[in-house]
Point group: C3
Chain length 320, copies 3
């Protein structure tokens, strides 16, 4: 793979089934390929804070014998301009064209983390920053979350479901939940995109006005009745996102959508999932997160497996 930015890169590359098999192998035996990344450098550019992505990707690189260099745009380094053709007379000191190309000189694989600005839907959904970075980097690029997707998270989510499911085709529910701030749709988009290619019954539930972009959910079952959605579910995946149609707006902070123990009891003893960080008692009640349903920590652990699998495929292709 020359890039890993969405499930499409896996499908057109190793194939989803093959990637999943590799992932389960690495989960069982993390140190299986300690030399494959020898003398290769992974560069990670963060334009936003990160705990899991930062640490799990570093750890994945270490397991493969790679060296890692981490750069925080704006604190470690310069603030980046991402628009084309502008006169750079403002706060941004460097254009992403140069930043990407230079990092590509120092690293064999690059990762970039960027968030949706939530101001300009077209700019976000065209993935201007990510695509610009890929275009100028000159080396393979892995998305560490972009404006509209979080593929390393979604792959970890799939690994989690595959290893914890108790029936061949589990029922998976993605539920919106309240949050104090406007968040991107990336995790929800990405999770939907992956679930629609997985062997699961997938249903999305959210309040009125929170429909995700059609390109990510076409054909998915959507309901505004959260309780009906929960019935018989095997996995509850909670996430907040801001409105796609009324772009970037918070239309509701309705705490009736918080995931509670009472709601979990409607399910088929479902596993509770969230990508973290999670707002306790907004997204989900303490009783759920601290109770037997929660698999969020194992899910976070699978971030290492997810990243390691993708890096392994990229390293193998570099070695050809």
């Amino acid at each position: 793979m020359r890039r890993f930015t969405s499930i499409a890169d896996i499908v057109s590359g190793p194939g989803l089934a093959s990637a999943l098999t590799d992932a389960l192998t690495l989960k069982a035996e993390p140190w299986r390929y300690p030399e494959v990344g020898r003398r290769k450098t992974l560069g990670l550019l963060f334009m936003n804070p990160s705990l899991r992505t930062r640490m799990s990707t570093q750890k994945a690189a270490t397991l493969l014998g790679m060296d890692t260099m981490v750069l925080n745009a704006g604190s470690d380094s310069w603030t980046l301009e991402t628009r084309d053709g502008v006169i750079m007379e403002g706060g941004a000191t460097e254009h992403i064209k140069e930043a990407a190309a230079v990092m590509g000189q120092y690293c064999d694989i690059l990762g970039i983390r960027t968030f949706a600005g939530l101001q300009d839907r077209d700019a976000d959904y065209n993935e201007r920053i990510l695509e610009s970075f890929i275009r100028y980097a000159g080396v393979p690029v892995v998305s560490l979350e972009s404006a509209t997707r979080h593929p390393l998270q979604s792959f970890a989510d799939l690994i989690t479901i595959e290893t914890l499911k108790r029936k061949p085709r589990p029922k998976v529910v993605l539920t919106w939940a309240p949050h104090p701030k406007a968040l991107p749709q990336a995790v929800a988009n990405s999770f939907s995109e992956w679930m629609m290619q997985a062997d699961v019954d997938f249903i999305i539930t959210h309040p009125d006005g929170y429909d995700l972009a059609p390109s990510f959910t076409q054909g998915a079952v959507v309901t505004h009745d959260q309780r009906a959605a929960f019935e018989g579910a095997d996995f509850i995946y909670a996430k907040n996102w801001s409105s796609y149609t009324d772009y970037g707006q918070i239309l509701s902070k309705d705490m009736d959508w918080t995931v509670t123990a009472e709601k979990m009891r409607l399910t088929n003893d479902a596993r509770f999932m969230h990508c973290l960080p999670v707002r306790r008692n907004m997204i989900v009640a303490d009783e759920v997160l601290d109770g037997p349903w929660s698999v969020v920590i194992e899910q976070a652990a699978n971030r290492v497996v997810s990243a390691q699998t993708m890096l392994l495929h990229m390293l193998r292709e570099l070695a050809r």
Copy 2:
């Protein structure tokens, strides 16, 4: 050791004498065990700035062959909530419960650095943040300074005294000194706790109102007469702390308490110690810090030895 947060963890573990012997061995031969940490990852979480702790602990890990991942809460990563049961609708994006548990999935040993808030004495002295982190981390934890103690510093201080003492039982003085800001009692508490178990004559001197918590100093000789305390001293350990009784308050910035050359001449040619960073000409005059008395740089160098010894014990226990 499953945790290193105070001298009690050494006493109930390898024993202080044994730890000190190991430390002196490692000081003489830093690369003695370059493989013991192979394929083990140390994660360091900083909730406050740090130079010595950050670098010395990384160096100690490198000497043992460990990989290190460093995370700055609030800049690299999310701001953390530390209270239980709250509705997380404010600035904090992640609860320390999840942060600790997730880091524990990625790392074999964790270190955490946190300061006293100096607002709520009970919260600080119950070590809410440190204990919460330990409870949820699921892996051994080393304190990189907590609200009430700085054990890696105190162990380095003991190593410094052991290697530089010129008599079997030296006189060691802990003196308060002025500082422009309100500082925690952690270093002073911790140093007292260690000195009271060491083979030294220990005396504390500070202005009225600056008594440390009784649990750390019970049985220690305390005087408000700094000059009397200095007489015949072999080691002068200067430190500022805010009031424990009038919690977190600055009761004095009296520059008569600054350590000067004239006061050092009252001593038995004492060594001058400070944990650093030090406010020159507030805590101590340039003439002392730049003069023959100062051993603050060697003391800082011993931070590597201190951290390496503790990591070595933890790694050995992991290997069992």
Copy 3:
């Protein structure tokens, strides 16, 4: 070399021709000496943001088998006092004397990055911070850019010119260009100093009032006629700097000085150089930077070669 802060350290050390030969060898074979830095630690202290210097120096250290520890003053660590004799009652928590000496205990070679304050010309041109750091570090120090010079950049620039020149003695033009903020003279000073010792015809062009410090440009051809300077040039090196005589002031933002394609056509098909980060359409038009003239990315790539050569020399001297 015990220090690398200017071309003088190379001239009085290995000699410029020898350093250049080593550089070309390392450029061709980066992994030639993967063991020379084994068990040696490089410490990098940044008092300002950095992308190229940070990453290229880390990469150079990795290529030589060194471990690296990076510290950002003010965010990772404490803010540093650099003046002598002051009562430290303000914002700075630690004196550079202690910071340097402590880092010297943890590292075998140190790098420091600092900028001109542009307030006090004497302080900047006396290199107070850099020289203080070197004085107290106790280990070899490499400048990662200082108030008045950027030697790793200049050496990379020389490598770039040497490898891309199409005649034995090319014409090299340093041209001032507009920028929205007041910048140090360091890169321009340093480039001048190096070019005057290189086998090139060197000419400087800038608006009235932008003469560089005489010590860096004595004997150089200087003109205020940018177009005349560009005629027949083989290399155009663009850079903004604030006034040296009217110290730290912006005397002009005249966009007539921006490097455009039309101006590049006056040259002998010159290569366009800039140290980056570059303000697009202020310093240089998109058409130049994205056109066939630009070698800024290769120039940035040579930063690894430059740093690796200097570290190699320092490591060899440590091994003696």
